[in-house]
C-alpha cells in the first residue's frame, strides 16, 4: 500500500496518485480506479482517462442517491492495483464499512495493492494537535496503523504556492465555506501542518525501519529521526559536553543519552573522579537525558557498539588539547571513533586538558609497599629455585621460570607491581644466573638476547595480566550492580500499594548501601515522611527543610550537595520528567560519615530512577482506579435515571392515550368536563416528572453538554410553541433583532430553561397581560430577558427564587408550580456558563428573568458569509 500524504487540501495528492498509477499502467500492470474525486477539475479528469474506472455503487438513502466505492465490484474485478482517493472518507449509511479505510483494509487483505491519499489533519493521533491551532476539528480520521503499514509519499508544496493556488481557484473547497477556510489556509497554519506531515512521515518510516531491523537483525545505522549520544568521562569538562548535547538535542527535538564507557582504567579512579562522573551523569538525567554506564575493553569499541544499539545519529565528543606526541603514540580517540562509527555525525568540542587531577589518586595507590615486597619475595624464591635447577637444565630454559612471579604479581596486584617484578626478575637472572655470576655484566652475546627477551616478555605479560584483572573486576562489579538493580526492580514491581512501595524502596536502599533511609512525599503541609529504615528515624527541622527544598526544586540537598549541607542526610529527588514524586534521604549509620561513597552514587541514582518509574506507575494506576470508580458511578446514575424516567413515563403514556380516546368518544357535558380536567392534571404530572428527572440529572452531575451554535430566535420560537397552553391568554411580544448573533449552548438544556421561564411567566402573570421576550447584544455579551406583569418578586429576595422548592407568600399553590422549575433553570444555565438573574420591576409591576451569555460564547460569524 502506498499513501500520498499532504499537509492540506490542494497540494496535489490526487494528481500525484494518478500520475504514479499511470506510470504503473504503462509498465503493463493491471491498474483500476476505485474512486477518485475530480471535483469537476479538467486536469484531474484528464488524468483518469487512461484508467478503467470501477463504477460506483449507488445506494438509495431516504430516496436520495448516494454513491460510494463499490468494494464488491473491485474484489470481483481483482486488479493488481486500485486507486482509492480520500482514505478518511466516511461511507454512506448502509455501506459495508462505515469508513473507507476499512474498505481499503479489506482490499489489502484480498491481495489487491492500494494507492490512496490522506491529509495530515485526518491522522487520528494528530487530530487534537491540528484542531488546537487551526480551530477546525476534523471528524473523519484514519487510524495511525494505516500509516505504519504503508509506504508514504509526501506531496508537498510551499505554503505560499498553495495560498496562490487557492486564490487562483485551483483548490477544491465548497465555495460557501471559502471564507471560513481562509483562516485554515493561513500561512502559519499551513507551515505547521506541513511540518507535522513531514515529521509524521519520518516517524512512520522510523517505525517500519525498527520492524525491519528486528526482522532481519541487521547491524547498521538506520535511524530515521535523530538520536543524540554524548560520551562523558570523569573529567570536569564533561559537564559542558552534557550541556552542549542537550542544546543539540533540543534543536533537533531528539532524545539524547549521556554514556560513560567503563574500561579497565575506571577501576583506577579515586573518590573525586567517581564523584565527578556521578555528578555529570546526574546532570544529564536532570536535563532530561538518559544515562548509561557500559563496561567495555576500550572506549572506542564500547562507544561504537552502544551508538549502534542506540541507533544514534549524532555523537558528541570532547577533545582535550593533549600534546602531539601523546596522540602519536596512543592515537586520537576521536579519529578512531570516526573510523568505527559509520553513519553517525560526530561533533567534537575542544575542552581544556585538566591534566594531573587523575594522577594524584593513582600515585597514592601506587605508593603502597606491600605488593612490591610480595613481588620481591616471589622473585627471590624463583632465584633460589633456579640456582638449584641450573645444575640440571639449560640456562635459557631456566629463564622461563621467571615469568611465573611476573604473572603472579601482575595478576594479583596489577600493572605496576607486575612491571616491578619483571624488572627485578630480569636483573636477578643476570646477576645470579648469567655468567659472569654476581655481576650485571654479560659475556656471551646469546645471553644478552636472553636477558632482553625475558625483560620484554615480563613487561608484556604483566600488562596483559593486569588488564585481565581489571576487566574481571569490572565485570564483577557490573554483575553486582545488575543483580542489585534487577532485585530492586523485582521488589518495587511487587509492591501492591504506595505505602508498601515506599517501604520497599527505603528497605532495599538501606540494605544495599548499609545506610539509614527516609522517604518524603509532597503533602499540602510540605514534605511528609512516608517511610523510614530503621523505623525510628525522624527528620529534624533542618532535614525537613532539605526535603522541602528537594521536593520543590527537584535537586539534591543536604550533606554532599550544594544546599543545606549541615543536615546529616543526603536528599535525592525521585522525579519523572519535571514532576518530583518524592525525596529519598540517605545517611551513614554513624552520624559523622558521608551519607554514601562517591563510587556508589551512580548505582544509587539508577535505583532512584527505577523508584521514580515505579512510583509514577503506581500513581497512574491509582488515578485509573479512581477514574473507573467515577465512571461506573456515572454509568449507574445514568442507567438509574433513564430507567426511572421510563417507568414513570410508561403509565403516563397509557393514561394520556386513554384520556385522548375518551375525549374522542361522544360524552355528555359533565363527563367531558371531567375528562378535560384529567387531561390538564396529566399534563401537569408529566411536566413535574420531566422537571424531577431534569433536577435529578443536574444534582447528580449527570449533565452531558452538547454545545452548538444556536439562533435564539429559533430557540425562543420552539419554547413558545411548546408552552402555548400555559401562555394561553397572554400576548407574547417578541423583540429579537434580526441581526442577533448566535450563541453557544446546549440546545436541549436551553429549551428546558426557556420552557421553565415561560411557564413561570405564564403562571404568575396577571391574566390578559403580555409577556415580553427581548434579546440584546451588549458590549460584553448577549442577554435574553423574559418580562411578565404580575405580583413580581419580594424585595431583596430576587435570587432566592432559584432555590429548590422556594415559594413566596402570596404565590399560592393554585398557580400550579412544582417549585423545581427555576432551580433547574439555575443549574442548567450554570452548566452552560450562562448567568441567570431575576429582577423586580415596577410600572407595571412584575418580574424579569435575564439570561446572559458572556462574550466568549457569542458566535462571531459574518452573516454575509453564506449569502
Amino acid at each position: 500500500m502506498k499513501l500520498f500524504l499532504g499537509a492540506a487540501p490542494g497540494v496535489g495528492k490526487t494528481y500525484e496518485m494518478l500520475s504514479e498509477g499511470a506510470a504503473r499502467l504503462r509498465e503493463g500492470e493491471d491498474v483500476v480506479v476505485g474512486v477518485v474525486e475530480t471535483h469537476g477539475r479538467q486536469e484531474t479528469e484528464a488524468l483518469t482517462r487512461p484508467f478503467e474506472i470501477v463504477p460506483r455503487r449507488v445506494s438509495d438513502h431516504h430516496g436520495r442517491p448516494l454513491s460510494e466505492m463499490d468494494i464488491d465490484a473491485i474484489l470481483v474485478r481483482a486488479p493488481a492495483l486500485v486507486l482509492v482517493d480520500e482514505l478518511a472518507h466516511s461511507n454512506a449509511p448502509g455501506s459495508r464499512h462505515p469508513k473507507r479505510w476499512q474498505d481499503v483494509e479489506e482490499l489489502l487483505t484480498a491481495g489487491i495493492d492500494v494507492y490512496s491519499t490522506v491529509n495530515i489533519q485526518h491522522v487520528e493521533s494528530l487530530n487534537d494537535v491540528v484542531a488546537s491551532f487551526t480551530k477546525v476539528r476534523v471528524r473523519e480520521t484514519v487510524p495511525d496503523h494505516m500509516l505504519e503499514q504503508a509506504d508514504i509519499e509526501i506531496v508537498d508544496i510551499p505554503p505560499d504556492e498553495l495560498i496562490e493556488r487557492l486564490k487562483d481557484g485551483k483548490v477544491y473547497v465548497p465555495e460557501e465555506a471559502s471564507r471560513a477556510l481562509g483562516h485554515f489556509f493561513s500561512k502559519s497554519n499551513l507551515s505547521a501542518l506541513r511540518e507535522l506531515a513531514l515529521r509524521r512521515a519520518a516517524q512512520a518510516v522510523d517505525a517500519q525501519m525498527l520492524d525491519h531491523l528486528r526482522a532481519h537483525a541487521l547491524a547498521g545505522n538506520f535511524a530515521g529521526s535523530e538520536r543524540v549520544l554524548v560520551a562523558v568521562s570523569e573529567r570536569p569538562e564533561a559537564e559542558s559536553l552534557v550541556r552542549a548535547a542537550k542544546r543539540l538535542a533540543d534543536a533537533m527535538r531528539a532524545p539524547w543519552t549521556a554514556v560513560h564507557v567503563e574500561t579497565g582504567r575506571s577501576s583506577d579512579f579515586g573518590a573525586p573522579e567517581r564523584e565527578r562522573l556521578a555528578r555529570t551523569l546526574a546532570l544529564a538525567a536532570q536535563l532530561g537525558g538518559g544515562t548509561a554506564s557500559i563496561p567495555a575493553t576500550d572506549v572506542v569499541s564500547g562507544l561504537a557498539a552502544y551508538a549502534r544499539d542506540y541507533r544514534a545519529t549524532q555523537l558528541v565528543l570532547g577533545k582535550s588539547s593533549r600534546s602531539w606526541w601523546f596522540e602519536l603514540y596512543h592515537g586520537s580517540v576521536v579519529d578512531r571513533v570516526v573510523r568505527s562509527a559509520e553513519g553517525v555525525a560526530i561533533h567534537v568540542l575542544p575542552v581544556a586538558a585538566g591534566i594531573g587531577v587523575r594522577h594524584r589518586g593513582r600515585w597514592r595507590e601506587g605508593l603502597e609497599a606491600r605488593p612490591y615486597l610480595w613481588s620481591l619475595a616471589m622473585v627471590a624464591a624463583t632465584v633460589a629455585a633456579c640456582v638449584g635447577l641450573s645444575q640440571l637444565l639449560d640456562l635459557n630454559n631456566v629463564a622461563m621460570l621467571f615469568l611465573l612471579p611476573v604473572l603472579a604479581a601482575a595478576g594479583r596486584f596489577g600493572l605496576r607491581p607486575g612491571l616491578f617484578a619483571g624488572l627485578v626478575s630480569a636483573f636477578a637472572y643476570n646477576f645470579f644466573l648469567l655468567p659472569p655470576l654476581y655481576t650485571l655484566s654479560i659475556n656471551n652475546p646469546e645471553n644478552v638476547i636472553a636477558f632482553f627477551v625475558l625483560l620484554i616478555v615480563a613487561v608484556v605479560t604483566s600488562q596483559l595480566a593486569a588488564r585481565m584483572r581489571a576487566q574481571a573486576e569490572l565485570a564483577n562489579r557490573s554483575a553486582r550492580q545488575n543483580a542489585a538493580l534487577a532485585g530492586f526492580a523485582q521488589l518495587v514491581a511487587e509492591a501492591a500499594s504506595p505505602d508498601e512501595l515506599a517501604r520497599a524502596i527505603c528497605g532495599e536502599i538501606a540494605r544495599l548501601f548499609h545506610v539509614d533511609t527516609m522517604l518524603f512525599m509532597p503533602s499540602p503541609t510540605g514534605a511528609a515522611l512516608v517511610a523510614a529504615v530503621p523505623g525510628a528515624n525522624h527528620p529534624d527541622q533542618l532535614d525537613l527543610a532539605a526535603a522541602n527544598w528537594t521536593l520543590e526544586k527537584g535537586k539534591p540537598a543536604g550533606r554532599g550537595s550544594d544546599t543545606l549541607t549541615a543536615s546529616d542526610w543526603l536528599l535525592q529527588p525521585i522525579a519523572k520528567g519535571d514532576k518530583v514524586l518524592a525525596a529519598l534521604a540517605v545517611a551513614h549509620a554513624d552520624p559523622g560519615g558521608a551519607p554514601i561513597r562517591s563510587d556508589e552514587l551512580p548505582l544509587l541514582l539508577s535505583l532512584v530512577h527505577q523508584s521514580a518509574l515505579a512510583m509514577d506507575r503506581m500513581q497512574l494506576a491509582e488515578a485509573m482506579r479512581e477514574l473507573d470508580v467515577v465512571r461506573s458511578r456515572d454509568r449507574l446514575r445514568a442507567a438509574l435515571l433513564s430507567s426511572v424516567g421510563h417507568d414513570l413515563r410508561t403509565p403516563l403514556t397509557t393514561i394520556r392515550s386513554a384520556i385522548g380516546e375518551l375525549a374522542q368518544s361522544s360524552l355528555d357535558p359533565a363527563s367531558a368536563a371531567i375528562v378535560d380536567a384529567l387531561d390538564g392534571e396529566v399534563g401537569r404530572l408529566n411536566r413535574f416528572v420531566a422537571n424531577l428527572l431534569d433536577m435529578a440529572r443536574a444534582q447528580a452531575g449527570a449533565i452531558k453538554l452538547a454545545i452548538e451554535p444556536i439562533d435564539l430566535t429559533d430557540a425562543v420560537a420552539s419554547a413558545v410553541h411548546d408552552v402555548r397552553k400555559t401562555l394561553d391568554g397572554h400576548e407574547i411580544i417578541l423583540d429579537m433583532p434580526p441581526d442577533l448573533p448566535m450563541v453557544r449552548a446546549d440546545p436541549q438544556l436551553l429549551h428546558h430553561i426557556l420552557i421553565n421561564l415561560l411557564d413561570n411567566a405564564g403562571r404568575y402573570a396577571d391574566p390578559g397581560t403580555p409577556v415580553r421576550i427581548a434579546a440584546r447584544r451588549g458590549p460584553d455579551g448577549l442577554s435574553l430577558a423574559i418580562r411578565d406583569e404580575g405580583p413580581g418578586l419580594p424585595e431583596g429576595k430576587e435570587m432566592a427564587v432559584f432555590e429548590t422548592f422556594t415559594r413566596f407568600d402570596g404565590s399560592d399553590r393554585s398557580r400550579g408550580g412544582t417549585g423545581l422549575g427555576l432551580a433547574i433553570v439555575r443549574d442548567f444555565a450554570t452548566a452552560m456558563d450562562v448567568a441567570v438573574r431575576a429582577e423586580r420591576c415596577g410600572d407595571p409591576q412584575g418580574a424579569r428573568f435575564i439570561l446572559s451569555w458572556p462574550d466568549r460564547l457569542v458566535v462571531r460569524i459574518d452573516p454575509e458569509m453564506l449569502a
Binding site: 465555506a177 421510563h646 393514561i655 408529566n686 429559533d714 420560537a717 420552539s718 448566535m742 429549551h751 453564506l866
Partner: protein, 222 residues
C-alpha cells in the same frame, strides 16, 4: 393502512390499537424485536410505530432492518428524549420521532404525514401556506410574487420541501447541501435558515414554515 405497533407494554399496545382502529387503520402488534421483524416480513405493514426500549434488542438497531422490509413509514415512540438518540434514529432512516407521553391526535397526524411521504420524494410543486415552491422550475413564490433566493437558500428549501412535514437532522441537511466535510458546521445552516425565514415568513421571529426541533433539525410544515 396496515400499522404495526412494536412496544413491550401491553397497555400501550392496547390503547394505540384503539386509537388506530378508530382512525380506520388495520393493526398488528409485536412485543419484542424478534416478532417485530417476523411481522414486518410477513404482514408488510405500511407503517410501523417502534418503541426503542425493547426487551431483546435495542430498537435503534431495528430501524434499518425494518426499513429494509418494503420501506414502511417508521415512527419512533420513545420515553427517551435525549437529542442524540433522536438524531441517531432519524439518521438511520426513521421518518419521525414522538416522545412519550404523546397526544394520540398528534401521533395520528404525524403518522399520516409520514405515510404519505415514506420512500419517495415529494411532489415537484408544493404549496405551504402562502408559499409555492416549484422544484422543477427552481421558482419560489410568496402570495403569487416571485421571491429571489440564493443558491444555498434554494437548495435548503428544496431539500426540506422534498420531505414536507418530516424532520431532517442538521447532519442530513449539512451533508446534502454543504458536503460531508461540513456536517458539523451548524452555524452555516442556521444563517441560511434565518435568511430564508426573513424572505418567506410572515414574522421571522415566529416561524410557521420552517420549524426548529431543538438540537435535532428542521422541518417544513404545510
Amino acid at each position: 393502512m396496515k400499522v404495526l405497533i412494536v412496544d413491550d407494554e401491553p397497555q400501550i399496545r392496547r390503547l394505540l390499537g384503539v386509537a388506530l382502529r378508530r382512525a380506520g387503520h388495520e393493526v398488528a402488534e409485536a412485543e419484542d424485536a424478534a416478532s417485530a421483524l417476523r411481522l414486518a416480513k410477513g404482514e408488510r405493514p405500511a407503517a410501523i410505530l417502534l418503541d426503542l426500549g425493547l426487551p431483546d434488542r435495542d430498537g435503534i438497531e431495528l430501524i434499518p432492518l425494518l426499513k429494509a422490509e418494503g420501506d414502511p413509514a417508521l415512527i419512533i415512540l420513545s420515553a427517551r428524549d435525549a437529542t442524540e438518540e433522536k438524531v441517531a434514529a432519524l439518521d438511520l432512516g426513521a421518518d419521525d420521532y414522538v416522545t412519550k407521553p404523546f397526544d394520540s391526535e398528534e401521533l395520528l397526524a404525524r403518522l399520516r404525514t409520514a405515510a404519505r411521504h415514506a420512500g419517495r420524494r415529494g411532489e415537484e410543486r408544493l404549496i405551504a401556506g402562502e408559499i409555492m415552491i416549484d422544484l422543477a422550475a427552481r421558482r419560489v413564490e410568496r402570495r403569487g410574487e416571485e421571491v429571489h433566493l440564493t443558491r444555498k437558500e434554494f437548495a435548503l428549501l428544496a431539500e426540506l420541501a422534498a420531505y414536507p412535514g418530516r424532520v431532517l437532522t442538521h447532519g442530513q441537511l449539512l451533508r446534502t447541501i454543504w458536503g460531508p466535510a461540513h456536517e458539523k458546521d451548524i452555524e452555516y445552516l442556521r444563517v441560511v435558515v434565518r435568511n430564508l425565514r426573513q424572505k418567506l415568513e410572515e414574522d421571522a421571529a415566529r416561524p410557521t414554515l420552517i420549524v426548529n426541533d431543538p438540537g435535532v433539525g428542521y422541518r417544513l410544515t404545510r
